[in-house]
Structure formats: structure tokens, C-alpha cells
Subunit: 220 residues, 8 copies
């Protein structure tokens, strides 16, 4: 497993990350980590690697786009001095284009998204032991859905940046696509953006698999 | 306009009808009618046909399927002695099959749906001046979506029963399909089942058009 | 219809406009627009002209008089850069003279009202594609009522200014007077100032008629 | 003053009497008497006639019409064995005809009102030392207002019954008409039915004057 | 009656005056005046002298001593420019000596009380048409009670200052002493400091009597 | 100390005993015992005699008179099978005569008080290892106060019954009289009936002294 | 994995199971399953075996002992017709002996515990496809702690019964003992009974391991 | 008893001291002192030494370590000018090392603890008549528990400093150890840090014994 003893893992993103975390800093006992995948990641790290004493911090903020992450880089990432950082951002950048077509200033188009994310990654990567970029997803299997195809486009941008800056890429969309073969989107999410707990578990598993978590570890 | 002076119009259905109406009976001032299409129908009838003094009653109950409507026929319809009745039911009958596949006793399959609705209509029609059957809808334009195609099937059942029992059929799905040509489903609804107010206005308009409402009436 | 694709319509006024809108800016999904005529205007524009993607913003503030509107011109109108502006103000200017005769500093007398409104209109008109001035109303048919006759006087001032500055004038009082021929004031309002939803629908219809809204539009 | 030492005065009526009194019985310290004229009557009786130790009980219920009072006669009047009873009822009997013209079963027309009130008075009078009938009122000076003229009609019925059954008649409408010569209805009430505290004081004074209360009493 | 048309009467004091008044300024409709004697004074002035249009303002603050009144003179009295001012202060100055003997800095001893009150009166009197000084009271008839005898001492100071500065003196203690001849203190107050509504009515009557209020006035 | 290992001590009374205890039975951790002397007695018994494992149960009910205790004997005392019982009742029996002179049916006069208490004691004593009767008290040192002298009278009745039925008599009034030599009643209670915590400690000490509690016990 | 397509798994127990589940039946979306291990089990089953469509139901009740489970067998287990049942009970049976030594009727001693649990298992086993008995645990590594050694004793009883009735035994205590080698009890629980989320994850893992859950499953 | 007439005793510490005290200063009536040992100390001082009129002030803050006390020295101790000061601090300094091993910046290790406490004591002692240092405790009898042995170490530091700076040392751990001989830790505390009321009484007794409180005092 890639995380080392005493490492701090900071997870940043939008409402899917936030899930009601404590303010100003989402850390401490479980409720402080919100009620989503961050909390599950922390619980699994403690339950399976207790001696590693990993510190998980949730800095997600509901409604955030990549613009907000960039603005929060100093206060909400660097100031906390994480060893590892995970970023999952982009669905709001897309969603506003579809649910609020009249509020054009809230739309983050692909070019701006790519530039902003790349700047953020480039500036932050040197401060980190490891960086994880998680693909934004839409819990909809039909690729002809306009929002799904747009989210896919943003996901490709994330993948490209991950490769360029030596970050671990977590394909959350692929994880959901497997689940969607066995059930309608409404089984996993009421709005195709925010997952039920089973979906958060799906994200946590994809994340942990990507950092070499050993689910069958017994020798501790 | 088909409704006559002093007529009572009772509208029954599920959460799309309910929208927080008063209990036990949803009537009186506007808040008692919930915050959906029923309230809009009532406000438009009063604003355009004030001398008709139409009484609108909302008896929707969130989560209802056609089974529940049948069970409530005596207490929630006949006991109130409406002149006109509107029914919009079916989306929960379908939705549970998709969001709760493990809770099979909550699934109302097409045959049961048709039998139950037909019995309800047959028994109730003689007590009424007029009956309006509103098609259940799913705010999703892609017909290959499994839930959309299932809701379509239930909608056809409603249409068939409407024709057989001399009821006015309101094609709410067609009304939403027009809107969906000009915007993604997330513009009109966060879960494709419960509309934003613009969607409720769309339903109200479809209903009122079906009963001969004159939007340009000035001579009163 | 006079509004063009992508136009922003900002509606300002007192509690009849406000109706519990979101702060600091009343826009977004329906609840953010309050529970009055602004929300109905927005829903109707979306339901009948979805391709126009009109943005409606509610900047009403309960208790406001024309003095307050003038003070809020920069922050609450110009800063949001609307294409169209509607103003409905004046009933509080009058009401305080009748319900709080001892609080004389809250009374806005006709001369001050006219000067202030004219200044506001003159300064703001050049920044707008279109301006709508809605007449303040009192839901009371007896013109010998002292407050009705005073509100009428203020309404005439609005009409005069509308003509002078090329604004669309909406005669809401005339709309209510028609309703009052078919029912007592208590049917439409509990205090003759704040309408029930049917009254808000009445205002919305008067407004939309004035900007060329086609209620029977089907070809979209 | 007509009330004697240790007498219980029970005051029954609608929301104007109720004003948030305690349930099931409105008596005890001041908050239990609601926030209207009943509490003021009690406070004045205690402050000016402390040695009389009068017991005031508030049994008003919001929304009541004369039908409700009749139904509550046993449980809410006789069971408490008052010495004196005051009744003020009728405005809801009228109001529903104007604010809810579509809910015809809530309208208590003059004939039913008179019959019901007379039955109530006839059956209850023998159990009492004294009975006070207070005129229902509408805080509107223009007699051509349809609701004012209807309330006047009901007031005349009360007066007739008071004379026939040896009850003290309190002309609350006359008391309000004096106030309305010096201010608009909105100064005394927001809906012309429920008074501000000054209006409740007006009712309390009219009631106390009618039972011989000496405002300038000093010799105790 | 001494107050003239359009006069503003500002009443200042401690919790007995405050009674939950609105902040920052206690004026407007009745609830803004708190639930004590100030509200009763206002209601009686409106009900009996409606044409005078007297403005009553409540600036009481719970827990205040004379020190606080002095500190609030500019902001809470002069800035509001009253025509008449009433002051009732002193019971907290005394009470803290008895209920909190260990908190000596909260005790306002007689000398400080007299100096502070006199300074306040001397500086404020010239700005007023009339000044009313109401005696602080303790609802306890036994003069050998230590707190009663102390409050009596402070009351004498108030009386002396009233005479010296041409203020109307209202002997609220005498008014309560009459009531206490006909009932135990627990009938009028739960703690001998805060009156029940009957006690507030007693204060209001004493105040109004002192300014020449005509309880039997009919000719308006 | 008279209580033996495993004994249950049930304490019954009015609001001074109740103090917000749990329902239906006031036992378990400290909050369940209310916030008065019962909780203090329990904490002291545990802290000083931990090996005795005494079970303290609070069955006080606010507002109770001796009538209520008699009615609750079966359900609230016998059914719980206490070894020891303490009773403190009587202040409400007296208080209502003073604070609510008009509600005569709430007054428990001395004869009824004595008869009822004696019956209660006589019937219950045989079921108990020990019975403690605590004197009702009034936190007022002046014996010429009418309520103090009446409470004294009821206290003498309690003392007489305690002697007759072999119960331990706790003179809480004497305990408070000592405190009142060193401070005004308002230091220990805001209404002379409900003590501050120091007063509850005073009651707890008087009770524990009476059952032989050794405050200086160290040998456990 | 032992559970088959469409199986219902009902999990019963005390507060560790309950965790705020919905009433009367804890099923549906995730919040209805409480916030403990049941919810995690359900999420993991859905995320890794989506095609199995397993139905998980939480029937835990805070504070329950084995006595309560027996009493709830008909209504809370059989009536819901589960295919699989898990039981985790016993810590309250023990805890009351230690935290409430004075409330002896709440203590379930080993003999009663064994008899009751065995009866429950014997009667219920035939109705089930599979039964899982989870060992009660105490999050304390020192076996000389009196409560730990007592819980161990109860755990042995569960193990014995599991073997006798062909149930799967889940050794949750062993799972916690491993964690306690790498951290103090306060890291995993604030009271050594209720785990933090990491502890719930530990329970869920132990349970899923026991039923053959494949953590590395990818072929679906 | 060491405290003299009119002395102020300020008690500072962490959540065991705080217990919900009033902000910003915990003094006045009992609720302002929180619900722990401070309130009990105050009540006992008033009940047994009423003529001393001791002022007790609670300045505990939940979660505090010795670092926080040092930071609050000026504002929360010196500014209030106490005569006597008690300090009980240290359990959070230790606890975070065990419940939050990953949050290393919250760990106050022994050396820092000793230095900080000594500085605080040295600087503050000259301003005081008397200083009481209360040992931090852990309600766990097994000394091999890692947290118990660490708290013991910190307790020794406190003892050493008390001796060096002429402070009274209160051995709260010894007091709890006696109780733990007669019951499990869960009888006195749910988390071994925060005591039940019996434990707070235990602390209060240990404190009062240390300052020469005479439990059997009768001559006042």
C-alpha cells in the first residue's frame, strides 16, 4: 500500500466529497469526515492498516467547480501540508451548463476546465508525495445523454493531466458503469450525481485499489 | 370551459400531486393545495373564471401507487363528492422496480396496474360529471432508458382505459417531451420524476387545455 | 414576445415581489424566486418559451418604499446588469400613512414619491432594453375608501412617468378590479395588500400580456 | 359592578376570543387567558376589584361559528358551571361566505345563525346569573362593503335575541365605529377581523362598561 | 390629558418595562412594545384618545440599573427625540444586593443611585415637554422585609428628585400596596419583582391617572 | 447509616422533588433523577457509601398536592416496591390558596391535608423498612407572612403524623431558617418555593443527617 | 458467497446494530439502515455483488438484551420472513451488571442468557436458509477487566450455541483484539461498547468474510 | 476553612470543569456554573458557610490542554482578580495521544506539559491568596492500561509543582481509586474521563476536604 506510516491524505472536491463534513477542517472522528467516500476510505484504512495511523482530511465543498479549488489551494490544501492529495472535480462545471443554461457565468467550459486544473496540478504536485486524480462521473449508462457525453469529455481531460503530471488516475466512471450493467441509475443515485452509500463504497474501493490497498490483509 | 359554476374538482395522485398539501383534506387557501400543479390549476381557474367559483381539492399522497388509490376510493374520493375527478398515478408503480429491485412486494407490474386502475375507473366514473386521466411521465427523452420505456407502457394503459370509459386523456409526457427538445432533463427536474415549478406549470397547462380553458378570455 | 433569447429580467419591488426570495440574489431554481408572481412569470416563460432561456431575477424586499429602491439602484439593479427591469412600488409609501399615522417619518407623500420614482427611472432607463412599470394596487373596490383613493393617486403618477420615459405600463389595479366584480376582497387577499396565489397569477398574467406573451403558442 | 364575589365569568367565542389561550381550559395566570380582550378583562377586574376574586375563563376556539358553540355547550360551558357567560360569535359565519364562496357547507346563513344562537341562549340562560351577548363586528366603516352590511345583519339578530332573553347586549361595532372616525381600519387591524391590542382594549372597555365597571373606583 | 396631538412618549426602565419589546427600538404594532405596562398604556391611549395619535416607544432593557440608563441616554433617549419621557428604575440596583451579595460590583448603593439619577434627570429635563418618574416597587406588604425597606428608600429618592426637577411622580408602590390588602404577593407576582398582567394594568392605571387620562371619556 | 446494602429509596413529592426527572420512572443515571435534592442524595450515597449500592428513585410530579400522592400510591409507590420512602408534600396545597384564590377547588385545606396524608402514611407504612416525612417549607423568615404561617401549620401536621406512625421527621424549614439568618430569601430562591442548588443541597443534607449519614467516613 | 440472488438478510441486535435505523422496519435506502455495520454490509453487497440484489433489513433496537430479542421474534423476525438472520446480542446483558449494579432486574445472568438465546435459536433456525451468530464484544484488551472477562464468558456461550445449531459464528472480539494491538481502546470507541466507523467496518468485514465475500471480485 | 469572607474562588480546567457553564464568565446562579463539581462546591459553600459569601467562578473550557490555560491566563484568570485559584488540567493533553494518534500536533508530551504548567503556576501564584492544583485522573483501576499509566505520570508532575510553589494538592485520582474498589468504571463514567454526578461529588468532596471544609458544622 502506497501510503506510509503517519501520512496525511487530503481529499478535495465538491458535494460528493463534502457530504456534510466539519468546518473549517474536516478531520477528527468519523462524523467530521462527512457521510461519503472520504469517511469510508478513512475507516477502511484504520480497520485494515491500523499501525499506519493514516490521517485523512476532507476538504470538499458542495457546489465547487475547478475554479473554486484553484482559489482554495493555499488555505485549504497547502496550509494543511498533506503528504497525499486526491482531487475529484468537474461535475458541477458541467451540470450548470445543463440545469441552469440561463446562468452562463456559472458554466466552466472544457478549455477553462483544462487550463485551471492543469495549473492547479502543476503548482501543487511538487509539494506532495503522491497525487490522485479521480475522474468526475455521471451515473447514467447511455452515452448519447448530453450530460454523460460532456462529463466523459472532462474525464478524458483529467486522465490526460494525470498522465502528464505523474498522478494516479482513478476511473470512477468505469466503476459505476459496471454497477449500471446490473441496475438502473435510480438504484444508485436519485439525481445521477450524488451516489447512495453503495456508490460511495464503489468510489472508495476504486480509490483504495488504485493505491494498492490489500483487501485480504490479515498479518497485522 | 367544461367545468360549471360551483363544480368541485378533486385531483388525486402521488407526490407530484401532493406537494405538501394540507391534511386530512387539501383545500382552502393556496398553501392547503400543496406547491404543485393543483395549486396552479386552482389559481388559474380563479384568476380567469372568477365567477365560476370552482372548488379544487388536492388528495394526492406521496409514494402512492394505484393500489393505494383504490384503497382510498371511498374515504378520499367518494366521501368528498366531487363533480370532476383527475387521476395521475403510475410512476411509483414503475420506479420501485428500478430503484428498489430487492423490495419486490412494492412493484406493481403492468397487469396489476391495468386491472386495478380499470376497476377504480369503472366503479368511480358513474358518480362523476367528468373524469380526467393524466398520463404518468418520466422527464427523460431517451426512449432506450429502461424506466422511460416502462413508464411509456403504463401511459398506454392509461390512454386505453381513458378511451374505454369516456375520460379525458391528458398527455403530460408529450408536454414534457416538447420541453426536453429545448433543455436537458436536469433543467426541469432533479430526479426526472418531480418537476420544478416550470414543469408543474407545464402539467397545469396540459390539464387546462384539455378541459377547454380559454387563456385569452377577457370578457368577465 | 418582447424578451429575446438569453435576456435577463430583473423584477424589483416590495413584499409582493419579495415573497421569501433567496438572499442576497433571488435567482436559481424556483424556491429562490420567492412564492409570488415572479416565480410564476419565470415558470411560464420556461414552459412556453423554453428555447429563449430567459433569466428571471427577483430583487424585491419586504417593506420597501420608493426611497429604498432608489438607495438600492447600484447594488441591486445595475450591478446585476439586467436587460429588462420591472418595478412595482408604492403601496408601503401609502400604507404607513394609514396604519402608522404616528410614525410620520415613514410616510412617503405624493410629491416625494413622484420625484424619487422619476429620478430612479430617468437614471436607469438608458441601461435597459426595456422597462416595465407596474401600478401599485389596493385590493378594495370601493373608491371612497381613503387608502384606495390614495393608492389610485400614486398609480396615476406611475402611469405618467411610464409614458414620459417610454416604459411599458401594467395596470394591475384594473386586473384586480375585474376580479373584485366577482368576489369580495377577502377572497383574493387577507389584508387587501398581499394577494393569494390567484392574485399573483393575475399580476403575472397582466405582466406577460403587456410584453406580448402568447398563451396559445404551440409551435416550439 | 354586577359581578359578585367569587363569581366565575366564562367567555366563549372564536379566534378573537381565543387568542392563543391554554387548552383544554383557558384559565390560571394571564398567559392561559390568551392575548386578547379576555385577558384584559381579567386583569382589569383584578386590578380594580381585587377583593371580588373574580374567576375569568376563556373558552374561545379559533375558526368557530355558532354551530361549534352549540356543539360545545355541554363540555365547554355547562361542565365548568360559570355564573356569568359572555358570547361573541358570528364573524366566521359571515366571513366564509366571502373568502371561501366555493366551500358552501361552511356558510352559516342568517336563518341558521338565528335559530342556532337562539337555541343556545334559551337552553343556557337558566343556568346563569347573567348572560352577555357581544355583537360580532367588522372593522370597516363603509356600510356599502358587502361583508360589513352582512355582519351588521347578524349583529341585529344578536341584539334581538339579547332583548328577548334578558341578556346584556354589548355593541362592539359601535365602539369600533367611533375609532374608525379617527383612523383607517388598517390602524386597528390587519384584516378587519382580528384587532390590534388597542382594539381588544376597546372590546374590553365596552364589555366592562356594560356590566357596570367603575373606572374611577378608588375606595378599596 | 397632558399629552398633545402627535406627541412621542418614550418609556425607559428595566425588565418590568422591557417585557420582550422589539430591538433596537420598541415601537410599531403592539408586539413591538413588549408584553407589559407600556403596551397597555399605548393601547389605552389609542382606544380612548384615537385622534391624539400618540406615539409610544419602549426602550426598557432587562437587568438595567440606573448606571445603564445613564449610559444609554444619548442613543436610547435623546436620539429618538421624545416629547415625554417616563423612567422607572431601581429595583435591580437593590435586588443584586440581596440575591447576589457576593457580586459586590453589581450593587448600586443609595448614594450612587441618587447621584446618577439626578444627573440623568437634570441633563435630560430641558429636552422634554414632560417627564414622569415612576417609583420602583417591591410587591411585598411587610415593611420589615429587608428588600422592601431598601426599595422604599430608593423610592423616596425618586420622589425627591421628581419634586426638585418638576417631574410627575407616579407612586406605583402605593398602587401595589392597595392590591396587597386584598391578596398575597404570589397572586400578583411570582418573584415580587415582575408583575402578572393585573399588576402591569395597575402600573398603567397609575401612570395614566398621573397624566390626566379620562377613563370615562366618550365625546370623541 | 440506616439504609442497608441494596435498599431502594423512593422519594416522592411535588416540583421541588421532580426537578425534571425522567418519565415514567425517575431512575438510572443522574439526569433521570432530575436536577434537585434527589439527585444530590443519590450522588452522595454513591460517593460515600459505594459498597451499599443504594437505589434512589425520584417519583416527584410538579404541581402535586397530597391528593395526587394518594391517587398515585399504587402505581407510583407500591408497584416499585421501595424499601424506604420519603414524602415531601404540602406547599402546593397551601400556595393555591394564595396565588389562585379564585380557583377554590384547588385549595387543600388543613383538615383534608391531614386526613389524606394520614391515610396515605397509615396504609403505606407497613410495606416499608423506613419512612421519612419531610416538612414542607417556605423560604421566608417573617412568620407574619400569611403563607409562611400557613405552611408552618401544615408542617406541624406532618410532624404529628411522623411521630404517630414511627416515621423519621426532617425539619427542612429549620434548615432554611438558618440560611435565612445569613441572607435574604432571594439569595436562595426566586419565588420562595423552589430553591437554588444551594437550597437543594440544604435539603439533601437535612435528609442525610436524619438517616445517619457519616460525612467524614473514610474507611471504605 | 453464501447469499443467493434475491435473499433477504435480517440483522438483529442492540444499539450497535440499531444506529438510528428507520422505524418500524429498517430497510430501503441507506439512511434507513442506520449508521453502523448493517449499512456497510448492505453497501458492500450492492457494490460488489450488484446482480445478487440482496435485501438487507436492520431490526436492531438500542438497549436490547436477549430477553427483548426473544420477545420480538414473531413481529420483528418471522413476520418479515428473512432468508438469512444475523444476531449480535449480549453486551447490554452484561453492561447493566456493571454500570447499574443497583438495578438488579436489568441484569441478565449467564444461565438466563444461555437458555434464552438457545431457545431463540432453536425455534428460529428451521425457518432460515442460514443463521449467523456474532459474538458480543468489549473493546478492551485487558482480560483482567471485570467486564471484559464477563463478555468473554457470554461470547463462549454464543460460540457453543452456534456450533450446536449449525450457525456461522463471527468472532468480532478477535477482530477488535487485532485492532487493539495497534491502538488504545479510545481510538476505536468512546465507551468501549459503541465503535467508531472504523470499528463498524471491522465488524462488517468479519461478517462478510464469514459468509464468503470475495473482496477482489472483478468479473461482474 | 481556608476561604475568608468575600473571597472569590476561580476554578479553571477542561470539560470536567466546564460542564456547560455560562459564557463569557461562568458565575451567577447555579446554572451559570455548569453541571459539575464547580456548582457542587459553590452550593456546599453557600449551604454550610452562608455568612462567608464566597464567590465561585467557573472558567473551564471543554477540550482545553495546559497550552490553552496558559493562553487564557490574562483574560480568564487575572482579569477577574480571584483570591483563590484551582486548576485541574492534563487529561486532554494525554487523551489525544491515545484517541487521535494521527493528529500529532494535538499531543502535549510530558516535558511540554511540565514546562507550561510550571510557568503558569509560577507567574500566577503571587497574585493569589491560595492556589489549589487538582490532579488529572482517569477512571480506570488497572494501572497497566496505557492511558492510566500516562495520566499517572502527569499527575506526578502536578504533585511536584504543587510542592514547589506552595499550592494545595488535591489527589482526585486517589478519590476515584477508592470508588473503583466498589464498582466498575462504567458505574461512575461512560468514557472513563467524564464522571457521573457521583464522581463530580467525589471531586467536590476531595477539594473541600483539602481546604478545611467542616462537613459537620452546625453553629451558624
Amino acid at each position: 500500500m502506497l501510503l506510509e506510516k503517519g501520512d496525511q491524505l487530503l481529499m478535495i472536491g465538491d458535494s460528493i466529497t463534502d457530504c456534510g463534513r466539519a468546518r473549517p477542517v474536516g478531520e477528527g472522528f468519523a462524523a467530521a469526515l462527512g457521510d461519503g467516500y472520504v469517511r469510508l476510505v478513512s475507516a477502511l484504512l484504520t480497520a485494515v492498516y491500523p499501525e499506519k495511523v493514516i490521517r485523512v482530511v476532507n476538504m470538499g465543498v458542495s457546489g465547487n467547480t475547478v475554479r473554486d479549488l484553484k482559489a482554495r489551494r493555499e488555505t485549504d490544501v497547502l496550509a494543511l501540508r498533506p503528504d497525499w492529495l486526491s482531487i475529484m472535480i468537474g461535475v458541477n462545471d458541467v451540470w450548470r451548463q445543463f440545469d441552469s443554461p440561463h446562468m452562463v457565468e456559472t458554466h466552466v467550459l472544457p478549455e477553462e476546465y483544462e487550463d485551471t486544473l492543469e495549473t492547479l496540478v502543476k503548482q501543487t504536485r511538487p509539494n506532495l508525495k503522491g497525487l490522485v486524480l479521480m475522474r468526475p462521473f455521471y451515473i447514467e449508462p447511455l452515452r448519447e445523454d448530453a450530460m454523460r457525453s460532456t462529463v466523459d469529455l472532462y474525464g478524458e481531460i483529467v486522465k490526460k493531466i494525470a498522465e502528464k503530471y505523474n498522478a494516479i488516475f482513478v476511473d470512477t466512471q468505469a466503476a459505476f458503469d459496471k454497477l449500471l450493467q446490473h441496475g438502473h441509475s435510480s438504484r444508485y443515485s436519485w439525481d445521477r450525481v450524488h451516489p447512495e452509500l453503495s456508490g460511495h463504497m464503489d468510489i472508495a474501493k476504486a480509490f483504495l485499489d488504485a493505491i494498492g490497498f490489500d483487501w485480504n490483509r490479515r498479518d497485522f
